[in-house]
């Protein structure tokens, strides 16, 4: 066996200090297998060593939360004995190296996290971000990632119902692929990863173990350089067909009373799954590696323990239930192997060819893993910028069209039509709306879900940006008539060893914390992806938020397309004219400086609850949250979705109009009201101190800003739908 020394430890991604810590914990030098295991458990991806102390500050409880962070996924109560289980996870590094497989296995991994807990997955969402469209790799990465997400989700038969797709040069060297999954289960049938019962058999099920993905988690814990391409062998290969079989087999077995605990083999494969189960149960685990089903000959203990082959699960069964379980897995044509048992040694003990090849105290891998309070800086809110000279003579029509046809704001159906978003026949609000909604199967209630982040806001002021991301998901859930319940977060940042990056992370956590507390909207699961840097250049801070809400009655679901002509159009919330970091200034004018819009959490909550009541009271016909591009773009989207026109009036100078129409002030909604309900709504708004602007009415076919622009909705639609088609033509 290779000699283990400090140099080899550093090659494994460990620091010299960390290597010395291992020797101290072990009381001796580790052998190669043990070193591999430590490196797999102590890398950033698995140990959260830079982020842990900050993550602990996030709110994780409200009356709906049954299980917060720390399990495979979070669990919330959906009433009537039903629960919803969800989580988001990144697969950024592998997707850059091999976009199809990287994205596909990202979807596969998050699905396993959810069905491991006893849930049937019912919805996939994703947030994908690419470099500039002109960058030489972007088209290849976009096509690969979208095909990969579709390839996995479509095959396993779980609808992909929502998400976001954006481009920015900051992702040229590090794309983001964040995949979220939502599942449903019965409250009394949720499965956890905590092992119990000395002597209980440890069982391996699913695919065979191959040499793919070795050191995947370590690769995902380092910056990229010119040689990143050479890391292709660290990317796993997905097999959605096997996962479908594994899903059905696991759910079938879960109907019986045989499983003590279950854990999917994700990052760091057999290593992290076995250690996590034993560590949570304060037990030891003994595995005979000769019993692992292997795909290739002569695999070494090192390779077996570090393989990230997909579609595998580890379970602890009740003694005596092995036969019943085996029968189910054999029916589905899957491997089933009893590979060891739980012990009271509190050690991870591995045997291979009748020799002991590893003996590590379990707590040294988890509880004693390094935890760093890295240096960080704090970002102050940037000084305001006066944009008057930019906008004085700006043409409203031209600006609107530029935004609608911009790659980040154009219609994304090219993306989501490659995803089966209808399988399972419960998708009652398809992609393209403010939130996706899936009916809770067989019930009258629904699950609303959305994924959001505006990285340009986060770059400008990380704290406000993270607050905004939380608020935007809240608003998107409100807009479809749902009650926001909880979030999952996927925190994508650069190298935390740099204090500027660590500062972005810390500020984002603080912003998120404030927003979650104010909205009673806790974090129940999530994932951190650091080292999203290439040659020292980091991505913008991108704390992606996945929000989930409960739609109590699916017949009250709201959509954003206009329903009638001659309806009143109103803006809920205060428009102060904040233009810095807006789509207009950032993308059309090209000025990337200045502060993002301020977040007022009291306003956010007040306006959201007001809109929520309007929807419940059936007083509004359409609701759309005001985001990118401000009032005018939001209005145009409502027209395009319904083929109904609108006529609005704005007063003041050209600059005043631009500020009113294009500003991205937060906590606002655009709503359609029937004339008969107007007075009632105005009255309630005034008693609740809600700002409401009546800006115009709907009409047939023509989109009009009085005295400024007149254009057919058809033309707007064409402009809005052309970018993706043209980009991917050749």
């Amino acid at each position: 066996m290779q000699e283990v020394n400090q140099e080899l430890a550093i090659k494994h991604g460990l620091t010299a200090d960390e290597y010395n810590k291992i020797i101290k914990l072990m009381g001796r030098n580790p052998n190669l297998v043990e070193l591999g295991i430590f490196s797999a458990m102590w890398n950033e991806h698995c140990s959260y060593k830079s982020s842990r102390i900050w993550l602990q500050t996030l709110p994780t409880k409200n009356k709906y939360v049954i299980q917060g962070p720390g399990e495979n996924a979070g669990v919330v109560d959906f009433g009537d004995g039903d629960v919803v289980i969800f989580k988001i996870e990144s697969h950024n590094h592998p997707s850059y190296i091999e976009p199809y497989q990287g994205a596909a296995t990202g979807v596969g991994g998050i699905l396993r996290d959810v069905f491991t807990m006893g849930a049937r997955p019912v919805a996939n969402l994703n947030s994908i971000r690419f470099g500039s469209p002109n960058h030489e790799k972007t088209k290849y990465l976009l096509n690969g990632v979208v095909s990969g997400i579709g390839g996995y989700g479509n095959c396993i038969g779980v609808p992909t119902v929502g998400g976001e797709t954006e481009f920015d040069q900051c992702y040229n060297g590090n794309i983001l692929v964040n995949a979220m999954n939502i599942g449903v289960a019965k409250k009394n049938k949720v499965f956890y990863s905590i092992a119990s019962g000395v002597g209980n058999p440890v069982v391996y099920v699913g695919s065979k173990t191959g040499r793919d993905g070795i050191h995947g988690a370590t690769m995902a814990s380092a910056e990229f350089d010119e040689d990143s391409e050479s890391k292709k062998p660290t990317v796993q290969v997905g097999d959605p067909f096997t996962e479908k079989l594994l899903l059905e087999a696991c759910l079938e077995l879960m109907q019986k009373k045989s499983i003590v605990s279950i854990q999917d083999m994700g990052a760091a494969g057999l290593t992290s799954s076995s250690i996590e189960m034993a560590s949570k149960g304060d037990l030891g685990i003994k595995i005979n590696l000769n019993l692992i089903p292997c795909r290739e000959n002569n695999m070494t203990p090192y390779e077996i323990m570090l393989s990230e082959s997909q579609e595998r699960m580890l379970m602890v069964l009740k003694k005596g239930k092995e036969k019943e379980a085996r029968k189910i897995f054999e029916k589905w044509g899957l491997d089933f192997a009893i590979i060891g048992q739980l012990t009271n040694s509190k050690k991870l003990e591995l045997e291979f060819n009748k020799k002991n090849v590893c003996s590590i105290p379990i707590h040294s891998l988890g509880d004693n893993a390094p935890k760093y309070k890295r240096d960080f800086i704090t970002y102050s809110y940037p000084k305001a910028i006066n944009h008057d000279s930019d906008i004085e003579k700006l043409d409203i029509k031209d600006s609107l069209i530029k935004i609608l046809s911009h790659h980040n704001y154009s219609n994304k159906s090219w993306v989501w039509e490659q995803y089966d978003h209808m399988v399972m026949t419960d998708t009652i609000q398809k992609p393209g709306g403010d939130s996706a909604v899936v009916r809770y199967h067989g019930k009258n209630k629904g699950i609303a879900a959305t994924v959001d982040c505006v990285p340009r806001y986060c770059k400008a002021h990380p704290k406000s940006g993270a607050m905004q991301a939380v608020c935007e998901t809240w608003r998107n859930l409100i807009s479809v008539g749902a009650q926001p319940i909880a979030i999952t977060n996927c925190l994508n940042f650069g190298n935390p060893e740099k204090k500027e990056i660590m500062g972005q992370f810390v500020d984002s956590i603080n912003g998120m914390k404030e927003a979650c507390e104010a909205l009673n909207y806790p974090v129940i699961s999530g994932n951190v992806s650091l080292y999203n840097e290439t040659n020292g250049i980091a991505i913008y801070p991108t704390p992606t938020i996945g929000g989930v809400g409960l739609l109590k009655n699916i017949n009250n679901m709201m959509t954003f397309n206009f329903k009638n002509t001659e309806s009143i159009i109103a803006v809920i919330g205060e428009t102060s004219g904040h233009l810095s970091q807006s789509a207009l200034i950032y993308d059309v004018i090209g000025d990337k400086e200045g502060p993002p819009p301020q977040i007022n959490l009291k306003e956010e909550k007040k306006n959201g609850l007001f809109v929520s009541d309007l929807i419940k009271g059936k007083l509004v016909n359409a609701v759309h949250d005001i985001s990118h591009g401000g009032i005018i773009v939001t209005l145009a989207e409502m027209c395009i979705a319904s083929n109904i026109g609108a006529k609005i009036k704005v007063s003041g100078s050209n600059s005043d109009k631009i500020k009113y129409l294009f500003s991205e002030d937060q906590a606002r909604y655009l709503i359609e009201i029937s004339k008969k309900n107007l007075e009632k709504i105005k009255k309630t708004a005034s008693t609740k101190n809600i700002k409401i602007d009546i800006i115009g009415k709907t009409q047939s076919e023509i989109f009009e800003v009085e005295n400024d622009l007149k254009i057919s909705v058809k033309e707007l639609k064409t402009k809005n739908e052309s970018w993706f088609k043209n980009y991917n033509k050749n």
Partner: protein
């Protein structure tokens, strides 16, 4: 009427189609691909999905599975068989229907609502529709591009075997409204005897108002 829905490993629209069949009064049982015997059925449904992961060729491995022998016997005796999406692929691979289904012309998976024209409403599967009526039903596939030799296409036309064709909202059969490159915009065909029907669109996804339409229900209602 009694139906059997065949569940292959990798089928994923089996539950969806069962819900629709039962909604329209057809008693339905699920039949595992490895079963040796088909329960007494008037109709066999091969559901959508990715049987055997679409490995080798879509529908190819499923066409050789144990239960398919029974399904073939059932069809030879005149029993009804309907294959939706992957089920249609299994039917052409089993040679219960002529032609082949190759990759979509744009080489992408396509999931969206499309419109089809009912070219033949005198089948057991379309009797409740009007001739030349337009149905809005979703598609979701990667390999739905129907291909056959010219002779075979002539034969299909002569025997009135083309049942559904992709069309625009007004019922015009044009190249623009052909989502996958199928010859003659073919979306669904029957065999010569008229008891085996394969279609790419998913009628079970258009049989519920909340999902955006009821046009697919006409197919389930026709089965009774």
């Amino acid at each position: 009427m009694k139906a059997s829905v065949i569940v292959f490993p990798g089928s994923n629209c089996d539950r969806d189609v069962k819900i629709s069949l039962e909604k329209f009064g057809i008693k339905t049982s699920m039949v595992w691909h490895a079963d040796a015997k088909l329960p007494k059925s008037d109709l066999v449904v091969l559901p959508g999905g990715f049987s055997y992961g679409d490995y080798l060729r879509c529908g190819s491995i499923a066409s050789k599975s144990r239960i398919m022998k029974e399904v073939i016997t059932h069809s030879k005796k005149g029993g009804l068989v309907m294959g939706i999406c992957n089920g249609f692929q299994v039917l052409v691979e089993s040679q219960l229907l002529p032609g082949v289904l190759i990759r979509n012309i744009n080489l992408k998976f396509i999931c969206k609502n499309i419109t089809v024209k009912v070219t033949n409403n005198k089948t057991n599967f379309t009797s409740k529709t009007s001739r030349n009526s337009v149905l809005e039903i979703p598609i979701a596939h990667n390999e739905g591009n129907y291909f056959a030799s010219k002779d075979l296409i002539d034969e299909l036309e002569d025997n009135n075997q083309i049942v559904l064709q992709y069309c625009d909202a007004a019922g015009n059969i044009t190249e623009q409204c052909n989502p996958n490159g199928s010859i003659k915009n073919i979306a669904g065909i029957v065999n010569k005897k008229g008891n085996v029907f394969g279609l790419m669109p998913h009628p079970e996804r258009a049989s519920d108002e909340l999902l955006g339409g009821m046009d697919g229900s006409l197919i389930f209602k026709s089965l009774k």
